[in-house]
Symmetry: C2
Subunit: 311 residues, 2 copies
């Protein structure tokens, strides 16, 4: 049963842009580390597990990245500094509100001789302006850093590097681990080099358990931080038990549980002391409120309470 | 060996928005079916194969959708009418040139009392204007229809429906099958209902071969059309042979072969009569030329030749 995290790092090379990202992370953390500044590392989106070395096929986890991207906006609204470690092409804060086609449709071209201008159509300004303001407020002050991953192994390397950079923040660091990380992978040594040929018949894929990074993360990499993990289940009967099992096993601070089908309107907060549900009323949903605004407020108060009682 | 396409349709329900899409396809095809109008069905992006009924995990095929999205632009430039049947969230014509963050960064907010306007920054206008013009030309005249899929089964249902709507075009229809369709799937009957639990140990997944739709497509659904398929390989030695095998097996008109690592600069056209390579020079690449502009010109001349010699 060799599913240890150290073996995984030993048998998977860091992504090719790893050193660049490590430098960005280090500089970002140092620049903002002053006074009582809180910092949030958000992980978001799913990881992939290649089935071939020259990757054509991979196993992916369902996750658009809505939870992480929406939460990033609300953490920024609360004056936090945010590292947004997300799956390449998953949803991002602010831009998530528009598709590319919506963007194009909002634009209007004016040609006046040599002079071409492009404006946002008046009837779209009301929608875009408030989002653009929040976007500029966070970006102009450099309060958010975007780092992206695709494979499980990219994620492993970047998460560890981020934790190392965050260690100086001690208890002021919040880890908000919303990414949907693969539970299974195919070891490098058992992977074919080329695309599997369908002529060879249908293959059987033997998967291996992915080592859980929460263990070294909590025990070794960043022991003082306020670590929040997520549990996604499809079977309601298993949810709270599984959240509690995770807390017992990894000894972190908070698990936020959710059921695939109802995750947009309801979550459960499970801490070592208690558990309670957070949900939106029908009216709140109709008014466009997002559950992430409530989740983030609650995480911030749990964190404040944690700081007061422990330091 | 029950891998027949009819069994697949019989055991997979159509996607929930299937009837809406079928109506859109029908209306679009009828509206444009006049004179000598050519119509192109482009399929683009990868299909997913769920591993669970309440899908958390799935097997995906690597494909950003660049080939299909870029080709759509060039077909529109050639005055063709385009059905863009693509994987949800894969690249789309025109919008593919910008990420969401790039869009936000290009915008500038002016507030003058009650009056808010948003413009594209002058230094971005040169980049956006030509793309926006081409976009508006195609969209204002309704020359492109977007239909999207996610799973293999969505793709099957929509492709067949599109073929049925295109049948009236006869030889004026081009099918440009650039989507990366899964070769393997897990039969519905062998799929667990809930998320696989990692406590149960690492699973072994037995896959089944996906029936090839090219066979009924060419023989039954749209026998007169000019059908172009793509072959992506990672092993250069297999490429031409595999293209030729596909032509012999399915008896369509053209296979465009490409190697994963060089697909942006080089492809090979394989027809029953001959085969030739199309590639970009280093200079063309540096000037920003895309191989899809060449592929599309060549497909259009092959199609013209086909019309002349057959009708």
């Amino acid at each position: 049963m060799s599913s240890h995290w150290e073996d995984f790092f030993a048998s998977h090379l860091p992504p090719s842009d790893f050193e660049d990202n490590r430098t960005l992370l280090k500089e970002f953390c140092e620049r903002h580390n002053q006074d009582n500044q809180q910092i949030i590392l958000i992980t978001s989106g799913g990881t992939t597990v290649p089935l071939e070395h020259n990757t054509v096929r991979f196993v992916d986890n369902f996750s658009a990245g809505t939870r992480g991207a929406a939460s990033a906006e609300y953490f920024l609204d609360h004056d936090c500094v945010v590292i947004f470690l997300h799956r390449h092409k998953s949803l991002e804060p602010f831009t998530r509100h528009f598709t590319g086609l919506q963007f194009m449709d909002m634009l209007e071209l004016q040609e006046d001789g040599q002079n071409t201008t492009i404006t946002v159509k008046p009837d779209s300004v009301d929608v875009v302006a408030p989002i653009l303001k929040r976007y500029k407020a966070s970006h102009d002050t450099g309060k958010i850093l975007y780092v992206n991953f695709t494979t499980l192994s990219d994620y492993f390397w970047l998460l560890r590097a981020a934790c190392e950079c965050l260690a100086d923040y001690g208890a002021r660091a919040i880890l908000y681990l919303a990414a949907a990380v693969s539970d299974f992978y195919i070891p490098s040594s058992e992977m074919p080099t080329h695309k599997m040929q369908s002529e060879a018949g249908a293959p059987t894929i033997s998967l291996k358990l992915v080592p859980k990074l929460l263990a070294p993360l909590v025990n070794l990499w960043i022991p003082q931080a306020f670590v929040v993990s997520f549990k996604l289940e499809t079977d309601e009967n298993l949810l709270i038990t599984k959240c509690r099992d995770a807390l017992k096993k990894y000894k972190h601070k908070l698990v936020i549980g959710n059921i695939l089908q109802t995750r947009r309107n309801k979550v459960v907060f499970v801490s070592p002391e208690n558990s309670y549900e957070i949900s939106l009323t029908r009216e709140q949903v109709l008014n466009g409120m997002e559950i992430e605004s409530q989740i983030v407020s609650n995480v911030i108060s749990c964190h404040s309470h944690f700081l007061k009682t422990n330091y």
